[in-house]
Amino acid sequence: MAIDADALRRAIDAYADVVAEQRDYLVDLDRAIGDADHGVNLDRGMRAAREAAASGSTPAEVLKGVATALISKVGGAAGPLYGTAFLRAATAVTGKQTLEATDVVAALRAARDGIVARGKAELGDKTMVDAWTPAVEAAEQAAQQGATVAQILAAAADAAEQGMRDTIPMVARKGRASYLGERSAGHQDPGATSTAFLLRTLADRAAAECPAP
Protein backbone atom coordinates (compact mmCIF):
# COMPACT_ATOMS: atom_id res chain seq x y z
CA MET A 1 0.00 0.00 0.00
CA ALA A 2 1.13 3.51 -0.71
CA ILE A 3 0.04 7.00 0.29
CA ASP A 4 -2.13 9.04 -2.08
CA ALA A 5 -3.22 12.68 -1.87
CA ASP A 6 -6.28 11.87 0.26
CA ALA A 7 -4.31 9.80 2.74
CA LEU A 8 -1.77 12.61 3.00
CA ARG A 9 -4.56 15.13 3.56
CA ARG A 10 -5.85 13.03 6.45
CA ALA A 11 -2.34 12.95 7.90
CA ILE A 12 -2.06 16.76 7.70
CA ASP A 13 -5.44 17.01 9.41
CA ALA A 14 -4.28 14.66 12.13
CA TYR A 15 -1.09 16.69 12.67
CA ALA A 16 -3.12 19.91 12.90
CA ASP A 17 -5.17 18.21 15.64
CA VAL A 18 -2.03 17.11 17.48
CA VAL A 19 -0.52 20.60 17.32
CA ALA A 20 -3.74 22.13 18.64
CA GLU A 21 -3.76 19.64 21.53
CA GLN A 22 -0.05 20.14 22.24
CA ARG A 23 -0.04 23.90 21.72
CA ASP A 24 0.35 24.77 25.39
CA TYR A 25 2.97 22.09 25.94
CA LEU A 26 5.04 23.45 23.03
CA VAL A 27 4.61 26.97 24.41
CA ASP A 28 5.87 25.78 27.80
CA LEU A 29 8.95 24.21 26.25
CA ASP A 30 9.62 27.44 24.35
CA ARG A 31 9.01 29.52 27.46
CA ALA A 32 11.87 27.73 29.21
CA ILE A 33 14.51 28.43 26.54
CA GLY A 34 12.91 30.75 24.03
CA ASP A 35 10.05 33.20 23.85
CA ALA A 36 6.95 31.13 24.55
CA ASP A 37 5.49 31.17 21.06
CA HIS A 38 6.34 27.90 19.29
CA GLY A 39 2.99 26.21 20.01
CA VAL A 40 1.02 29.31 19.10
CA ASN A 41 2.96 29.85 15.88
CA LEU A 42 2.64 26.28 14.73
CA ASP A 43 -1.03 26.05 15.67
CA ARG A 44 -1.79 29.18 13.63
CA GLY A 45 0.17 27.70 10.74
CA MET A 46 -1.37 24.24 10.85
CA ARG A 47 -4.89 25.68 10.93
CA ALA A 48 -4.07 27.43 7.66
CA ALA A 49 -2.26 24.34 6.36
CA ARG A 50 -5.33 22.17 7.02
CA GLU A 51 -7.33 24.44 4.75
CA ALA A 52 -4.62 24.63 2.13
CA ALA A 53 -4.31 20.84 2.08
CA ALA A 54 -8.02 20.49 1.29
CA SER A 55 -7.28 21.00 -2.40
CA GLY A 56 -4.51 19.32 -4.37
CA SER A 57 -4.86 16.16 -6.40
CA THR A 58 -1.35 14.77 -5.93
CA PRO A 59 0.78 14.34 -2.82
CA ALA A 60 3.14 17.03 -4.14
CA GLU A 61 0.29 19.53 -4.50
CA VAL A 62 -0.93 18.81 -0.97
CA LEU A 63 2.61 19.25 0.41
CA LYS A 64 3.08 22.47 -1.53
CA GLY A 65 -0.17 23.88 -0.16
CA VAL A 66 0.99 23.10 3.36
CA ALA A 67 4.37 24.72 2.67
CA THR A 68 2.83 27.93 1.39
CA ALA A 69 0.47 28.13 4.36
CA LEU A 70 3.29 27.58 6.85
CA ILE A 71 5.58 30.13 5.19
CA SER A 72 2.88 32.80 5.19
CA LYS A 73 1.26 32.12 8.58
CA VAL A 74 3.84 30.88 11.09
CA GLY A 75 6.58 33.52 11.19
CA GLY A 76 9.45 33.07 13.61
CA ALA A 77 12.20 30.57 12.94
CA ALA A 78 9.87 27.60 12.63
CA GLY A 79 7.79 29.08 9.77
CA PRO A 80 10.49 29.29 7.10
CA LEU A 81 12.11 26.06 8.36
CA TYR A 82 8.98 23.88 8.28
CA GLY A 83 7.81 25.71 5.15
CA THR A 84 11.06 24.91 3.38
CA ALA A 85 10.84 21.30 4.59
CA PHE A 86 7.38 20.78 3.08
CA LEU A 87 8.35 22.62 -0.11
CA ARG A 88 11.42 20.44 -0.63
CA ALA A 89 9.41 17.32 0.16
CA ALA A 90 6.86 18.38 -2.46
CA THR A 91 9.58 18.84 -5.05
CA ALA A 92 11.04 15.44 -4.21
CA VAL A 93 7.75 13.67 -5.06
CA THR A 94 6.49 15.85 -7.91
CA GLY A 95 4.55 13.91 -10.52
CA LYS A 96 3.78 10.90 -8.30
CA GLN A 97 0.18 9.85 -7.76
CA THR A 98 1.07 7.73 -4.74
CA LEU A 99 4.08 7.61 -2.45
CA GLU A 100 5.97 4.31 -2.25
CA ALA A 101 8.68 3.50 0.29
CA THR A 102 11.44 5.14 -1.76
CA ASP A 103 9.34 8.28 -2.24
CA VAL A 104 8.71 8.59 1.48
CA VAL A 105 12.42 8.32 2.21
CA ALA A 106 13.23 10.83 -0.53
CA ALA A 107 10.64 13.27 0.85
CA LEU A 108 11.98 12.98 4.40
CA ARG A 109 15.55 13.44 3.25
CA ALA A 110 14.65 16.47 1.12
CA ALA A 111 12.75 17.99 4.04
CA ARG A 112 15.72 17.58 6.37
CA ASP A 113 18.15 18.92 3.77
CA GLY A 114 15.93 21.96 3.29
CA ILE A 115 15.92 22.72 7.01
CA VAL A 116 19.69 22.40 7.18
CA ALA A 117 20.16 24.57 4.07
CA ARG A 118 17.99 27.36 5.53
CA GLY A 119 18.94 27.23 9.20
CA LYS A 120 22.55 26.00 8.94
CA ALA A 121 22.23 24.04 12.17
CA GLU A 122 24.33 20.96 12.76
CA LEU A 123 23.61 17.85 14.74
CA GLY A 124 23.99 18.68 18.43
CA ASP A 125 23.03 22.37 18.13
CA LYS A 126 19.79 21.63 20.02
CA THR A 127 17.31 22.29 17.22
CA MET A 128 14.74 20.38 15.20
CA VAL A 129 17.65 19.02 13.15
CA ASP A 130 18.46 16.76 16.11
CA ALA A 131 15.11 15.04 15.54
CA TRP A 132 15.12 15.17 11.72
CA THR A 133 18.57 13.73 11.05
CA PRO A 134 18.24 10.53 13.11
CA ALA A 135 14.74 10.14 11.67
CA VAL A 136 16.01 10.30 8.10
CA GLU A 137 18.82 7.88 8.86
CA ALA A 138 16.42 5.41 10.48
CA ALA A 139 14.04 5.70 7.52
CA GLU A 140 16.85 5.04 5.05
CA GLN A 141 17.99 2.03 7.01
CA ALA A 142 14.47 0.60 7.26
CA ALA A 143 13.92 1.09 3.54
CA GLN A 144 17.15 -0.74 2.72
CA GLN A 145 15.83 -3.68 4.69
CA GLY A 146 12.67 -3.72 2.60
CA ALA A 147 10.32 -2.16 5.13
CA THR A 148 6.82 -0.94 4.22
CA VAL A 149 5.85 2.72 4.23
CA ALA A 150 4.26 2.32 7.65
CA GLN A 151 7.35 0.59 9.04
CA ILE A 152 9.65 3.23 7.59
CA LEU A 153 7.67 6.03 9.17
CA ALA A 154 7.49 4.17 12.49
CA ALA A 155 11.28 3.82 12.50
CA ALA A 156 11.62 7.52 11.67
CA ALA A 157 9.23 8.45 14.48
CA ASP A 158 11.08 6.30 17.02
CA ALA A 159 14.38 7.89 16.03
CA ALA A 160 12.91 11.40 16.10
CA GLU A 161 11.59 10.83 19.61
CA GLN A 162 14.99 9.60 20.74
CA GLY A 163 16.58 12.62 19.06
CA MET A 164 14.08 14.89 20.79
CA ARG A 165 14.98 13.47 24.20
CA ASP A 166 18.66 13.76 23.35
CA THR A 167 18.28 17.53 23.02
CA ILE A 168 17.65 17.84 26.78
CA PRO A 169 21.29 17.95 27.96
CA MET A 170 22.51 19.90 24.92
CA VAL A 171 23.71 23.50 25.07
CA ALA A 172 21.98 25.39 22.26
CA ARG A 173 24.14 26.86 19.52
CA LYS A 174 21.36 27.95 17.14
CA GLY A 175 18.05 29.74 17.49
CA ARG A 176 16.84 31.82 20.39
CA ALA A 177 17.87 29.22 22.98
CA SER A 178 21.52 29.90 22.11
CA TYR A 179 21.27 33.29 23.87
CA LEU A 180 21.04 31.38 27.14
CA GLY A 181 24.34 29.62 26.69
CA GLU A 182 24.85 26.97 29.38
CA ARG A 183 21.46 27.77 30.87
CA SER A 184 19.78 26.12 27.88
CA ALA A 185 20.94 22.68 29.06
CA GLY A 186 18.33 20.60 30.88
CA HIS A 187 15.43 21.61 28.62
CA GLN A 188 13.95 19.79 25.65
CA ASP A 189 13.98 21.70 22.36
CA PRO A 190 10.49 22.79 21.23
CA GLY A 191 11.19 22.40 17.49
CA ALA A 192 12.63 18.89 17.96
CA THR A 193 9.46 18.08 19.89
CA SER A 194 7.09 19.33 17.21
CA THR A 195 9.14 17.36 14.67
CA ALA A 196 8.78 14.17 16.71
CA PHE A 197 5.01 14.80 16.89
CA LEU A 198 4.91 15.22 13.10
CA LEU A 199 6.74 11.97 12.37
CA ARG A 200 4.73 10.05 14.97
CA THR A 201 1.49 11.34 13.44
CA LEU A 202 2.62 10.36 9.94
CA ALA A 203 3.58 6.91 11.22
CA ASP A 204 0.24 6.42 12.98
CA ARG A 205 -1.67 7.54 9.90
CA ALA A 206 0.37 5.29 7.63
CA ALA A 207 -0.33 2.34 9.92
CA ALA A 208 -4.04 3.12 9.78
CA GLU A 209 -4.10 3.72 6.01
CA CYS A 210 -1.96 0.72 5.12
CA PRO A 211 -2.68 -2.05 7.63
CA ALA A 212 -0.10 -4.83 7.61
CA PRO A 213 -1.21 -7.68 5.31
Binding site: R31, D35, R44, L81
Partner: protein, 333 residues
Amino acid sequence: MKKIINNPETVVQDSLRGFAAAHADLVEVHFDPDYVVRAQPLPPGTVAVVSGGGSGHEPLHAGFVGTGMLAAACPGAVFTSPTPDQIHAATMAVNAGAGVLYLVKNYTGDVLNFETAAELAAAEGVEVASVVIDDDVAVQDSLYTAGRRGVGGTVLIEKIVGAAAERGDDLAACAELARRVNSQVRSMGMALTSCVVPHVGRPTFELGDDEMEIGIGIHGEPGRERLPVEAADQIVARLLEPILADLPFTEGDRTLLFVNGMGGTPLIELYLAYGIAERFLAERGIQVHRRLVGNYITSLEMQGMSITLLRLDDELISLWDAPVHTPALRWGV
Protein backbone atom coordinates in the same frame (compact mmCIF):
# COMPACT_ATOMS: atom_id res chain seq x y z
CA MET B 1 -2.98 38.31 33.66
CA LYS B 2 -4.47 41.79 33.63
CA LYS B 3 -4.34 43.68 30.34
CA ILE B 4 -6.48 46.25 28.56
CA ILE B 5 -7.48 43.96 25.71
CA ASN B 6 -10.62 42.42 24.26
CA ASN B 7 -9.25 39.22 22.83
CA PRO B 8 -5.71 37.89 23.18
CA GLU B 9 -5.85 36.47 19.64
CA THR B 10 -6.49 39.83 17.98
CA VAL B 11 -4.29 42.14 20.07
CA VAL B 12 -1.92 43.10 17.25
CA GLN B 13 -4.58 44.00 14.70
CA ASP B 14 -6.78 45.71 17.30
CA SER B 15 -3.84 47.84 18.38
CA LEU B 16 -2.88 48.63 14.79
CA ARG B 17 -6.40 49.93 14.17
CA GLY B 18 -5.97 52.37 17.05
CA PHE B 19 -2.49 53.31 15.87
CA ALA B 20 -3.86 54.06 12.39
CA ALA B 21 -6.61 56.24 13.84
CA ALA B 22 -4.24 58.09 16.18
CA HIS B 23 -1.65 58.86 13.51
CA ALA B 24 -3.68 59.12 10.32
CA ASP B 25 -1.72 62.25 9.37
CA LEU B 26 1.55 60.30 9.31
CA VAL B 27 0.86 56.64 8.53
CA GLU B 28 -1.44 54.28 6.71
CA VAL B 29 -2.03 50.76 8.02
CA HIS B 30 -2.81 47.85 5.70
CA PHE B 31 -4.30 44.60 6.95
CA ASP B 32 -3.95 41.02 5.67
CA PRO B 33 -1.08 41.13 5.16
CA ASP B 34 -0.32 43.65 7.90
CA TYR B 35 2.08 46.49 7.20
CA VAL B 36 2.41 50.19 7.91
CA VAL B 37 3.52 52.79 5.35
CA ARG B 38 3.85 56.57 5.36
CA ALA B 39 0.70 58.55 4.60
CA GLN B 40 2.69 60.48 1.96
CA PRO B 41 4.45 58.29 -0.59
CA LEU B 42 8.24 58.54 -0.85
CA PRO B 43 9.61 60.98 -3.39
CA PRO B 44 10.47 59.00 -6.56
CA GLY B 45 14.09 57.90 -6.64
CA THR B 46 14.36 57.63 -2.85
CA VAL B 47 15.60 54.46 -1.16
CA ALA B 48 12.81 52.87 0.91
CA VAL B 49 14.03 51.81 4.35
CA VAL B 50 11.87 48.95 5.64
CA SER B 51 12.01 47.20 8.96
CA GLY B 52 9.82 44.90 10.96
CA GLY B 53 9.74 42.34 13.68
CA GLY B 54 7.50 40.84 16.28
CA SER B 55 4.95 43.11 17.93
CA GLY B 56 5.21 43.92 21.63
CA HIS B 57 8.18 46.30 21.21
CA GLU B 58 6.14 49.44 20.53
CA PRO B 59 6.83 52.08 19.40
CA LEU B 60 9.40 50.02 17.41
CA HIS B 61 8.97 49.66 14.40
CA ALA B 62 5.67 51.16 13.22
CA GLY B 63 6.16 54.21 15.45
CA PHE B 64 9.21 55.09 13.37
CA VAL B 65 7.45 55.20 10.02
CA GLY B 66 7.47 58.69 8.61
CA THR B 67 9.57 61.40 7.02
CA GLY B 68 13.26 61.01 7.80
CA MET B 69 12.98 57.47 9.11
CA LEU B 70 11.24 54.29 7.88
CA ALA B 71 9.23 53.97 4.69
CA ALA B 72 7.39 50.92 6.02
CA ALA B 73 7.22 48.58 8.98
CA CYS B 74 5.94 45.01 9.17
CA PRO B 75 4.53 44.02 12.55
CA GLY B 76 4.43 40.28 13.24
CA ALA B 77 2.45 38.50 15.92
CA VAL B 78 3.59 39.32 19.46
CA PHE B 79 7.32 38.48 19.66
CA THR B 80 7.14 36.57 16.37
CA SER B 81 8.86 37.81 13.24
CA PRO B 82 6.64 38.95 10.38
CA THR B 83 6.03 36.57 7.48
CA PRO B 84 7.46 36.97 3.97
CA ASP B 85 4.09 37.90 2.43
CA GLN B 86 3.82 40.91 4.75
CA ILE B 87 7.34 42.04 4.03
CA HIS B 88 6.89 41.50 0.31
CA ALA B 89 3.64 43.47 0.19
CA ALA B 90 5.28 46.35 2.09
CA THR B 91 8.28 46.21 -0.24
CA MET B 92 6.15 46.50 -3.36
CA ALA B 93 4.06 49.27 -1.78
CA VAL B 94 6.98 51.56 -0.92
CA ASN B 95 9.55 50.87 -3.61
CA ALA B 96 10.14 54.26 -5.23
CA GLY B 97 12.50 53.03 -7.92
CA ALA B 98 15.74 53.31 -5.95
CA GLY B 99 15.57 49.98 -4.20
CA VAL B 100 14.57 48.84 -0.74
CA LEU B 101 16.79 48.43 2.33
CA TYR B 102 15.75 45.88 4.95
CA LEU B 103 16.95 46.59 8.47
CA VAL B 104 16.69 43.23 10.22
CA LYS B 105 17.27 42.52 13.89
CA ASN B 106 19.41 39.42 14.27
CA TYR B 107 17.00 36.69 15.30
CA THR B 108 16.83 33.48 13.31
CA GLY B 109 13.15 33.98 12.53
CA ASP B 110 13.55 37.58 11.38
CA VAL B 111 16.58 36.78 9.26
CA LEU B 112 14.92 33.80 7.55
CA ASN B 113 11.63 35.58 6.86
CA PHE B 114 13.33 38.72 5.48
CA GLU B 115 15.60 36.48 3.37
CA THR B 116 12.57 34.81 1.81
CA ALA B 117 10.93 38.19 1.20
CA ALA B 118 14.10 39.46 -0.49
CA GLU B 119 13.99 36.46 -2.84
CA LEU B 120 10.36 37.25 -3.71
CA ALA B 121 11.24 40.89 -4.41
CA ALA B 122 14.24 39.95 -6.52
CA ALA B 123 12.00 37.66 -8.56
CA GLU B 124 9.93 40.75 -9.40
CA GLY B 125 12.94 42.84 -10.28
CA VAL B 126 13.03 45.00 -7.15
CA GLU B 127 16.50 45.65 -5.82
CA VAL B 128 16.77 44.79 -2.13
CA ALA B 129 19.69 45.07 0.27
CA SER B 130 19.59 43.72 3.83
CA VAL B 131 21.58 44.71 6.88
CA VAL B 132 21.39 42.60 10.01
CA ILE B 133 21.60 44.47 13.31
CA ASP B 134 23.40 42.75 16.20
CA ASP B 135 24.38 45.19 18.93
CA ASP B 136 23.64 43.16 22.10
CA VAL B 137 26.83 42.56 24.09
CA ALA B 138 25.02 40.17 26.47
CA VAL B 139 25.33 37.40 23.89
CA GLN B 140 28.69 35.84 23.17
CA ASP B 141 29.26 36.00 19.44
CA SER B 142 30.65 33.09 17.54
CA LEU B 143 30.57 31.65 14.06
CA TYR B 144 28.82 28.60 15.44
CA THR B 145 25.88 30.30 17.13
CA ALA B 146 22.96 32.47 16.10
CA GLY B 147 25.16 35.44 17.06
CA ARG B 148 24.21 38.59 18.89
CA ARG B 149 20.70 39.98 19.01
CA GLY B 150 19.52 43.24 17.56
CA VAL B 151 18.25 45.48 20.37
CA GLY B 152 18.46 49.20 21.24
CA GLY B 153 20.89 50.04 18.45
CA THR B 154 18.06 49.34 16.02
CA VAL B 155 16.31 52.61 16.91
CA LEU B 156 19.46 54.65 16.26
CA ILE B 157 20.23 52.85 13.00
CA GLU B 158 16.67 53.36 11.72
CA LYS B 159 16.89 57.10 12.49
CA ILE B 160 20.33 57.65 10.98
CA VAL B 161 19.83 55.53 7.87
CA GLY B 162 16.36 56.99 7.38
CA ALA B 163 17.94 60.45 7.31
CA ALA B 164 20.49 59.32 4.74
CA ALA B 165 17.76 57.89 2.51
CA GLU B 166 15.81 61.14 2.87
CA ARG B 167 18.77 63.23 1.68
CA GLY B 168 19.04 61.02 -1.40
CA ASP B 169 21.81 58.50 -0.64
CA ASP B 170 21.59 55.47 -2.93
CA LEU B 171 20.89 51.90 -1.83
CA ALA B 172 24.52 50.84 -1.57
CA ALA B 173 25.40 53.94 0.47
CA CYS B 174 22.44 53.44 2.82
CA ALA B 175 23.37 49.79 3.36
CA GLU B 176 27.00 50.69 3.97
CA LEU B 177 25.98 53.36 6.46
CA ALA B 178 23.71 50.90 8.29
CA ARG B 179 26.60 48.45 8.60
CA ARG B 180 28.91 51.19 9.79
CA VAL B 181 26.50 52.39 12.50
CA ASN B 182 25.91 48.78 13.55
CA SER B 183 29.65 48.37 13.97
CA GLN B 184 29.82 51.44 16.25
CA VAL B 185 26.90 50.69 18.58
CA ARG B 186 26.60 48.40 21.60
CA SER B 187 23.73 47.65 24.00
CA MET B 188 22.90 45.70 27.13
CA GLY B 189 19.61 45.22 28.95
CA MET B 190 18.26 44.12 32.32
CA ALA B 191 14.87 43.27 33.78
CA LEU B 192 13.21 43.55 37.17
CA THR B 193 10.11 41.64 36.04
CA SER B 194 9.16 39.37 33.19
CA CYS B 195 6.52 40.23 30.62
CA VAL B 196 3.26 38.46 29.86
CA VAL B 197 2.58 37.51 26.24
CA PRO B 198 -1.17 38.11 25.73
CA HIS B 199 -2.03 34.75 24.16
CA VAL B 200 0.08 32.91 26.74
CA GLY B 201 -1.34 34.68 29.76
CA ARG B 202 1.51 33.89 32.16
CA PRO B 203 4.91 35.49 32.75
CA THR B 204 7.56 34.23 30.31
CA PHE B 205 10.01 33.76 33.18
CA GLU B 206 9.76 33.94 36.94
CA LEU B 207 11.82 36.45 38.89
CA GLY B 208 11.75 36.68 42.68
CA ASP B 209 10.82 40.00 44.31
CA ASP B 210 14.47 40.57 45.20
CA GLU B 211 15.98 39.39 41.91
CA MET B 212 16.95 40.95 38.61
CA GLU B 213 17.93 39.40 35.32
CA ILE B 214 20.99 40.82 33.53
CA GLY B 215 21.52 40.48 29.80
CA ILE B 216 17.91 40.01 28.74
CA GLY B 217 16.69 40.29 25.19
CA ILE B 218 13.52 42.05 24.14
CA HIS B 219 11.27 38.97 23.89
CA GLY B 220 11.22 37.99 27.52
CA GLU B 221 14.04 35.57 26.81
CA PRO B 222 15.73 35.04 30.13
CA GLY B 223 19.17 36.58 30.33
CA ARG B 224 22.60 35.23 31.14
CA GLU B 225 22.66 35.89 34.86
CA ARG B 226 20.24 36.24 37.73
CA LEU B 227 21.37 38.41 40.63
CA PRO B 228 19.95 40.07 43.74
CA VAL B 229 18.58 43.53 42.93
CA GLU B 230 21.15 46.28 43.47
CA ALA B 231 21.17 50.07 43.65
CA ALA B 232 20.90 52.02 40.38
CA ASP B 233 24.62 52.91 40.47
CA GLN B 234 25.57 49.24 40.36
CA ILE B 235 22.95 48.33 37.77
CA VAL B 236 24.13 51.06 35.40
CA ALA B 237 27.72 49.95 35.87
CA ARG B 238 26.78 46.34 35.13
CA LEU B 239 25.31 47.43 31.80
CA LEU B 240 27.90 50.02 30.80
CA GLU B 241 31.09 48.14 31.70
CA PRO B 242 30.61 45.34 29.16
CA ILE B 243 29.46 47.90 26.57
CA LEU B 244 32.61 49.99 26.98
CA ALA B 245 34.89 46.97 26.99
CA ASP B 246 33.34 45.43 23.91
CA LEU B 247 33.73 48.09 21.20
CA PRO B 248 35.91 49.26 22.99
CA PHE B 249 34.95 52.88 23.71
CA THR B 250 37.92 54.97 24.77
CA GLU B 251 38.71 58.32 26.28
CA GLY B 252 37.83 61.18 23.97
CA ASP B 253 35.11 59.30 22.09
CA ARG B 254 32.04 61.31 21.21
CA THR B 255 28.88 59.29 21.82
CA LEU B 256 25.12 59.12 21.74
CA LEU B 257 23.78 57.73 25.02
CA PHE B 258 20.38 56.03 24.83
CA VAL B 259 18.63 54.88 27.99
CA ASN B 260 15.61 52.83 26.97
CA GLY B 261 12.73 51.61 29.10
CA MET B 262 11.42 48.09 28.60
CA GLY B 263 7.80 49.25 28.92
CA GLY B 264 7.05 49.00 32.64
CA THR B 265 9.69 51.26 34.16
CA PRO B 266 8.65 54.86 34.85
CA LEU B 267 10.56 57.80 33.38
CA ILE B 268 11.53 58.91 36.86
CA GLU B 269 13.76 55.81 37.05
CA LEU B 270 14.98 56.08 33.48
CA TYR B 271 16.15 59.67 34.02
CA LEU B 272 17.76 58.64 37.29
CA ALA B 273 19.66 55.93 35.43
CA TYR B 274 20.48 58.33 32.61
CA GLY B 275 22.14 60.77 35.03
CA ILE B 276 24.24 57.99 36.52
CA ALA B 277 25.23 56.73 33.08
CA GLU B 278 26.32 60.15 31.85
CA ARG B 279 28.46 60.67 34.98
CA PHE B 280 29.89 57.16 34.63
CA LEU B 281 30.98 58.01 31.09
CA ALA B 282 32.29 61.47 32.01
CA GLU B 283 34.53 59.91 34.67
CA ARG B 284 36.08 57.83 31.90
CA GLY B 285 36.57 60.74 29.54
CA ILE B 286 33.79 59.67 27.19
CA GLN B 287 31.76 62.61 25.94
CA VAL B 288 28.03 62.39 25.48
CA HIS B 289 27.09 64.57 22.51
CA ARG B 290 23.55 63.36 21.86
CA ARG B 291 21.03 61.61 24.06
CA LEU B 292 17.73 59.75 23.97
CA VAL B 293 15.73 58.70 27.04
CA GLY B 294 12.39 56.90 27.02
CA ASN B 295 10.48 53.81 25.96
CA TYR B 296 11.45 53.17 22.34
CA ILE B 297 12.12 49.43 22.06
CA THR B 298 10.09 47.70 24.70
CA SER B 299 9.14 44.25 25.85
CA LEU B 300 5.42 44.60 26.63
CA GLU B 301 5.03 45.49 30.34
CA MET B 302 8.48 44.35 31.41
CA GLN B 303 10.15 46.49 34.07
CA GLY B 304 13.73 47.12 33.20
CA MET B 305 15.93 49.08 30.86
CA SER B 306 18.62 48.83 28.30
CA ILE B 307 21.55 51.13 27.69
CA THR B 308 22.88 51.74 24.20
CA LEU B 309 26.03 53.66 23.35
CA LEU B 310 26.89 54.77 19.82
CA ARG B 311 30.26 56.22 18.81
CA LEU B 312 29.59 59.34 16.76
CA ASP B 313 31.40 61.24 14.08
CA ASP B 314 30.39 64.48 12.34
CA GLU B 315 28.37 62.71 9.70
CA LEU B 316 26.43 60.60 12.19
CA ILE B 317 25.72 63.67 14.30
CA SER B 318 24.30 65.58 11.36
CA LEU B 319 22.16 62.61 10.28
CA TRP B 320 20.91 62.19 13.86
CA ASP B 321 20.02 65.90 13.98
CA ALA B 322 18.23 65.83 10.61
CA PRO B 323 14.45 66.40 10.75
CA VAL B 324 12.29 63.42 11.61
CA HIS B 325 8.51 63.26 11.73
CA THR B 326 7.09 59.95 12.93
CA PRO B 327 4.57 58.94 15.59
CA ALA B 328 7.32 58.23 18.12
CA LEU B 329 10.25 60.51 17.19
CA ARG B 330 9.82 64.05 16.05
CA TRP B 331 12.17 66.98 15.78
CA GLY B 332 13.30 69.61 13.34
CA VAL B 333 9.89 69.89 11.68
